[in-house]
């Protein structure tokens, strides 16, 4: 690990610690309105001021950080699980199943991902409670974000299928379940980890895009994307530059992930 990677990893650890401590650090509930002080500047009671509805911005930022930083890894975990099952099965079984999975992957990869998310979002109701909107966003990203990982995992599984050590194990009378658990899974595990970590920054950005467009996490639940919806009014933003903190945090986190994680090529 280079010194720069160590710094990036430390920042990420600090932020994840912040998520855990959010409950104790919140100055007020994220939805509580201080109606007499809307759009207030920073003060000792509200270190980052309040929004147009009088809600404490720091509380919303801390809670939004928790939502975004928990949502993205959860979606990444689901996407990696789907990719692991599909990719491994396709690579190990080969034949028609592999062709069908790879054709479906090609089709999904050719399609702009946001279009696919919009189609699925359009099928679901929009006036849902905030917590349900978080679950919908997480499921949508998790169930539709497996395509890139499938190709990589399938190629690796194909390599293992044709390997000498698997041939030797098979000729020694090793049963399929044991082959999977003792020989295939340990060899594919580093790839699963890499794909999981690579997906996290992608899902953080997708959640931000969806929420800014009003199709992600619903109000009053905050998330980084939700908090950035206020950027449309640049006059307010130039008067209250601390409102940029969600964007700054998002950029720092995504850049840290890019620094720490192995590149897609290394993972391949």
């Amino acid at each position: 690990m280079t010194p720069l990677q160590k710094v990036a990893a430390s920042i990420l650890c600090a932020l994840f610690a912040l998520i855990v401590l959010t409950t104790f650090l919140l100055p007020a509930h994220y939805a509580r309105q201080f109606r007499d002080i809307p759009n207030a500047g920073p003060s000792s009671a509200h270190p980052l001021g309040t929004d147009a509805l009088g809600r404490d911005f720091l509380a919303r930022l801390l809670y939004g950080t928790r939502v975004s930083l928990l949502l993205a890894p959860a979606a990444a975990l689901l996407a990696t699980l789907v990719a692991a099952v599909l990719g491994s099965a396709a690579g190990l079984l080969g034949g028609w199943f592999e062709r069908i999975v790879l054709a479906a992957t090609d089709l999904s990869l050719a399609l702009p991902w946001l279009f696919l998310l919009l189609v699925v979002r359009a099928m679901l109701p929009l006036d849902v409670p905030p917590l349900v909107s978080v679950v919908i966003a997480f499921l949508m990203m998790g169930l539709l974000g497996w395509q890139a990982s499938v190709r990589v995992i399938c190629a690796a599984a194909r390599g293992i299928r044709d390997s000498d050590f698997l041939l030797l194990a098979r000729s020694s009378g090793c049963k399929p379940a044991r082959l999977l658990v003792r020989h295939v899974a340990p060899n594919l595990r580093p790839l699963f980890y890499a794909q999981f970590f690579i997906s996290i920054p992608l899902f953080i950005l997708t959640e931000a895009n969806l929420s800014i467009l009003g199709l992600g996490v619903m109000e009053p639940m905050p998330s980084w994307g939700n908090l950035m919806r206020g950027f449309e009014d640049f006059s307010t933003l130039s008067a209250n530059p601390w409102r940029l903190t969600p964007l700054i945090l998002l950029v720092i986190v995504v850049m840290c992930f890019q620094l720490v994680l192995p590149s897609q090529e290394v993972a391949q």
Partner: protein
């Protein structure tokens, strides 16, 4: 003389084999495209048919309409027909270019697509042009300069752009009154730059390039004669992928920049849960993307075949 003639004949046979293989590849790709198009159309038909509220018109909840009239209306719209019959009618209408009607805009989807596609196409092509030019120039400059400062600052800048959500880039474009294509270029550029740079670095590290450099060949000669022919096939494949990236980026950018293109139409359809519109727009975009990818892949293989 005989040996030379044999070589010439062999070359002819090899060339013929290559062109036959390319023709077969093109035919297979076309067949694959047709199959995927048919699967996509069936999936679209299923989504439209099973969408919540399918076939329910405003008249059905209007108390002034009698049960007989509503029944007649349903008969007219063929809502009682079975699933196979629905698929048949949907596909035959699709084959005739009839993509149905938008629920929210009350206009034929075909007409909406005809209006919106050129707007997005124009922005995407111009945006891609700017992004490709900037990425290729910066990547080539990095290879010529080869200093740690240039490399570190270019990587940091690229990483920063990669970390920006496209919706934020769109809002920045609105604030700076920048054109839509420029915002698309900003989103696509970092993805292209890192890939082009890696490809060029790999090509530059090839032994024959090192030999050319040792012989004292100039930078531009090395780039155009030795590096680019090697990097061209993957670059052509990247061109196809970059179309998908830019169409994806067009959704938040057009929605927030208020540009009347396909992205804005898809966003509007998702917000108003207009499934016939969003599904058909996605189907057409998917077919265009697949065609672009196949064309880029085919061009890359043809180029690789002609240079090998």
């Amino acid at each position: 003389m005989q040996a030379r003639q044999r070589t010439w004949r062999e070359r002819k046979v090899i060339e013929k084999k290559k062109s036959t293989n390319l023709f077969r590849l093109g035919l297979r790709r076309l067949l694959f495209l047709l199959c995927l198009g048919l699967c996509g159309a069936l999936a679209s038909a299923t989504l439209v048919r099973f969408a919540p509220g399918y076939g329910v018109t405003e008249r059905e909840v209007d108390p002034r309409w009698s049960a007989n009239s509503i029944e007649a209306l349903r008969q007219k719209h063929a809502l009682h027909q079975g699933l196979p019959s629905f698929y048949f009618h949907y596909l035959s209408a699709l084959a005739h270019g009839d993509l149905g009607e938008s629920d929210s805009l009350k206009r034929p989807v075909r007409e909406l697509l005809r209006q919106r596609f050129p707007v997005t196409g124009n922005s995407v092509i111009r945006g891609l042009g700017v992004a490709w030019l900037a990425a290729a120039l910066l990547a080539s400059l990095g290879l010529v300069i080869r200093g740690w400062f240039f490399e570190a600052s270019a990587t940091a800048f690229n990483s920063f752009l990669l970390s920006l959500p496209s919706a934020v880039v769109a809002m920045l474009a609105v604030h700076l009154r920048a054109p839509v294509f420029f915002a698309i270029a900003i989103v696509v550029f970092p993805r292209l730059y890192s890939y082009i740079r890696n490809l060029l670095v790999r090509a530059y590290d090839q032994p024959h390039v090192l030999a050319a450099r040792a012989r004292g060949l100039g930078n531009s000669a090395i780039l155009f004669r030795h590096v680019l022919p090697l990097a061209a096939p993957p670059l052509l494949a990247l061109l196809g992928v970059s179309f998908a990236i830019s169409f994806g980026a067009a959704i938040p950018i057009e929605a927030l920049c208020d540009s009347p293109g396909l992205g804005q139409l898809a966003w509007h359809a998702a917000l108003s849960r207009d499934l016939p519109l969003i599904v058909n727009v996605t189907l057409i975009v998917a077919l265009v993307m697949l065609a672009a990818n196949s064309l880029a892949d085919f061009a890359g293989r043809t180029f690789a075949g002609s240079t090998s």
